[in-house]
């Protein structure tokens, strides 16, 4: 039986061979599956991701001569005769089994050419395994667990950084401050009991040991707990030089509120993004944590150097009434990187797209990220996705590290004693 995918692939190749845009109409669209939590406790992330992808689709499918991004200038994919990208969203509710089932559905029923996802690392584990079994590329947009790219999968790609890269830059920053004479000896780790919190704290604990910092608090808490009073009390008693939380939005808000309630002002906070990249947190408690520093994959103040970033942000904001953030910027970029490879593959065949992805080499200037470039290693990880550190000042994020990306030096410590 001639499957639809074979058919599409065949016509795509014919179209490519003839290289005529008029004849290329044979492939009208390329379907990509996006797997996100669209209901349940993380639904907000999924709904925001949806807007980020829709913005990326708009840029790919319509001509934007003023944007120097992959596929922006022409309408659709020139390599596939101007075919449009269509995205299908699937709800995995944060459940690995459902993620797997939805991935199978997208591959077999919707005949997606590739998939992108998935926020929760546990769900990415099953989606990427399914992708491997069906030879369909999976682009991890926003999963940060380092274990994901260490399973020898051929169809797994991640353009953004993972937790180890993130934590290393945090410690490089602390080392730099120490060299300048700041007294930084003790750290407090505060992390949720999920795969994210565990991975993040494991790397941080290891780095702290290697680089000679003492952990005075090491607190793992239950995610979405109703109260953090006793936990914050312990943080306050330890009074570390740097408080390092790995928390999502809900617990992040509760943490800061509880700190205020118990009169605890940490000397400095250096956060593993997540909740501390979300506008909702700063709307709620931003005033209390002026000068907080968080790692990020993205910073809106890049717009000062690269007007491109500002333009994309405007497009996104028009749809969502929010600024791009750490997650939505990564999601936006992941889809562009994926589409760029599909365009070069000139095919919707999973194997060819995979090979094209392996050849990807996009300079940092043609992204909206502070990355050096996008180029995947043999595990599908982009090691040039340099993270940045951002400081929240006057209700805005300012890039403060590394130096080549910094817009202004960091204010340290957070609260003058």
């Amino acid at each position: 039986m001639l499957s639809r995918r074979r058919f599409v692939q065949g016509t795509a190749l014919t179209a490519a061979a003839m290289a005529g845009p008029a004849r290329g109409q044979a492939v009208k669209e390329v379907v990509i599956g996006a797997l996100y939590p669209l209901s349940g406790p993380s639904a907000q992330i999924g709904v925001d991701a949806k807007t980020a992808f829709e913005t990326a689709i708009e840029i790919i499918n319509t001509a934007h001569a003023d944007l120097d991004l992959p596929l922006a200038k022409e309408a659709g994919l020139p390599g596939l005769g101007g075919a449009k990208i269509r995205i299908i969203f699937a709800d995995h509710q944060g459940d690995p089994q459902k993620g797997r089932a939805e991935a199978e559905r997208l591959i077999t029923q919707e005949k997606v050419a590739a998939m992108v996802g998935s926020y929760q690392s546990s769900v990415a584990a099953t989606i990427s395994q399914t992708a491997e079994r069906y030879s369909v590329p999976f682009m991890s947009a926003d999963n940060s667990s380092p274990s994901l790219h260490r399973r020898g999968l051929k169809y797994f790609f991640r353009a953004a950084a993972h937790d180890e890269m993130f934590s290393i830059i945090m410690f490089d920053f602390l080392d730099g401050l120490r060299k300048k004479g700041e007294k930084i000896d003790t750290l407090a780790l505060f992390y949720e009991d999920t795969i994210f919190g565990t991975d993040s704290s494991n790397v941080q604990r290891k780095l702290a040991g290697e680089r000679g910092y003492k952990l005075v608090s090491d607190i793992k808490y239950r995610a979405n707990t109703p109260s953090l009073t006793a936990e914050v009390q312990q943080l306050k008693a330890g009074n570390a030089d740097v408080l390092m939380p790995s928390s999502y939005t809900t617990d992040g808000i509760l943490l800061v509120k509880t700190m205020g309630e118990l009169g605890y002002k940490p000397k400095a906070m250096l956060c593993q993004a997540a909740g501390f990249s979300e506008q909702a947190l700063y709307d709620a408690v931003g005033k209390q944590i002026e000068n907080v520093i968080t790692r990020g994959s993205f910073s809106i103040d890049l717009a000062a150097k690269r007007p491109l970033v500002g333009k994309i942000n405007e497009l996104f904001k028009a749809r969502s009434n929010k600024d791009l953030n750490d997650n939505t910027a990564r999601e936006f970029m992941a889809l562009l990187v994926l589409a760029e490879a599909i365009d070069r593959a000139k095919s919707t065949d999973g194997g060819r797209i995979r090979d094209a992805l392996a050849q990807t080499d996009i300079p940092g200037e043609r992204t909206i990220m502070p990355w050096k470039r996008v180029k995947f290693d043999e595990n599908g990880q982009n090691n040039d996705a340099d993270p940045v550190l951002l400081q929240y000042k006057d209700q805005k994020f300012v890039t403060v590290y590394p130096e080549q990306a910094a817009v202004s030096p960091a204010v340290w410590p957070m609260f003058k004693a």
């Binding site: 406790p41 639904a43 808490y221 006793a230 209390q288």
Partner: protein
């Protein structure tokens, strides 16, 4: 642990416990009245928090003074839930308990879906207000004003509830109906009316808790779930149907949770609450004050 930290943890636990009690008592009341466990209780609280949020945006009065409005709104929600769903579940001729559980469970899922549809899954917070984020320090012991107010409101609500049950005609009808729903019809009490008011009252109480909690807590469609689980444990620990039991158990749970977070790894603190429940029911199978 220094004595200061210990006192701080007890104080925080006590305040949290009073809120837990206020969340739980509505559940206990409804159960005592008609043997129904309301699985949508956490969703009622979530609705109250959104109601507070919406009212603050619309009316621009401090949330503290909007609480009566929210309580009234939740009374209507509770009464509607009874008239629209639960009274039909009560008519089941078989499987009564399970039908009620799943009718209210289905209701909870629907309410969450509607909240996501209407309010989006974004996390909301009240704008700065009279109490939010403020705290008083008594000799190094910090008492956050929102929780302090919540605790006082909780005590006042329990006092009011006690007066209502013991001193008013409605309270007597409530008491009579819970003792023998069949016989009350003979003395001219409309059972359905008492049940409707009971559901309204139960929802109004959790509405009050939600209104107080909203002052200093994030709001989103799934916010009710962790509180609901604690509320079920509190109700069972205190003894199903016992108002005083809910108060005592709520406080106890708040204290045990706060202490557990220090002596156990914090992520295991709920195990302290669970162990407390099991220890109590193994000795007293009807909870602390259960009379059934």
């Amino acid at each position: 642990m220094t004595p200061e930290i210990f006192i701080q943890i007890l104080a925080s636990g006590l305040l949290m416990g009073l809120i837990y009690a206020l969340i739980a008592v509505g559940l206990s009341l409804i159960f005592g009245l008609m043997d129904v466990v309301n699985f949508a209780h956490g969703e009622f609280m979530m609705l109250a928090m959104y109601a507070t949020f919406g009212a603050v945006l619309l009316i621009a009065i401090d949330p503290l003074f909007l609480a009566p409005l929210v309580v009234a709104a939740l009374f209507v929600v509770g009464a509607t839930a009874y008239l629209g769903v639960v009274q039909y579940a009560m008519r089941a001729k078989a499987n009564l308990g399970m039908v009620q559980i799943f009718a209210t469970f289905g209701l909870a899922v629907v309410i969450r879906g509607v909240a996501q549809l209407l309010f989006t899954p974004d996390y909301r917070n009240l704008p700065p207000n009279l109490l939010g984020g403020k705290t008083v320090s008594l000799g190094g012991i910090y008492l956050p004003l929102p929780q302090l107010a919540g605790g006082l409101v909780s005590v006042a609500a329990f006092t009011g509830l006690w007066l209502l049950i013991t001193k008013t005609d409605f309270g007597k009808a409530l008491e009579a109906t819970r003792e023998d729903a069949g016989a009350v019809a003979l003395v001219g009490i409309d059972k359905n009316r008492v049940f409707t008011l009971g559901w309204g009252l139960g929802a109004a109480l959790v509405g009050l808790a939600g209104a107080m909690l909203a002052i200093n807590y994030y709001i989103y469609p799934d916010v009710g779930a962790p509180f609901a689980l604690i509320a079920y444990v509190v109700v069972a620990l205190g003894g199903f149907g016992s108002v005083f039991g809910a108060l005592a158990a709520g406080i106890l749970v708040g204290l045990v949770e706060a202490v557990s977070a220090v002596i156990l790894p914090s992520s295991l603190k709920a195990v302290g609450i669970y162990a407390l429940y099991l220890a109590v029911v193994f000795v007293r199978p009807r909870g602390l004050f259960g009379s059934l």
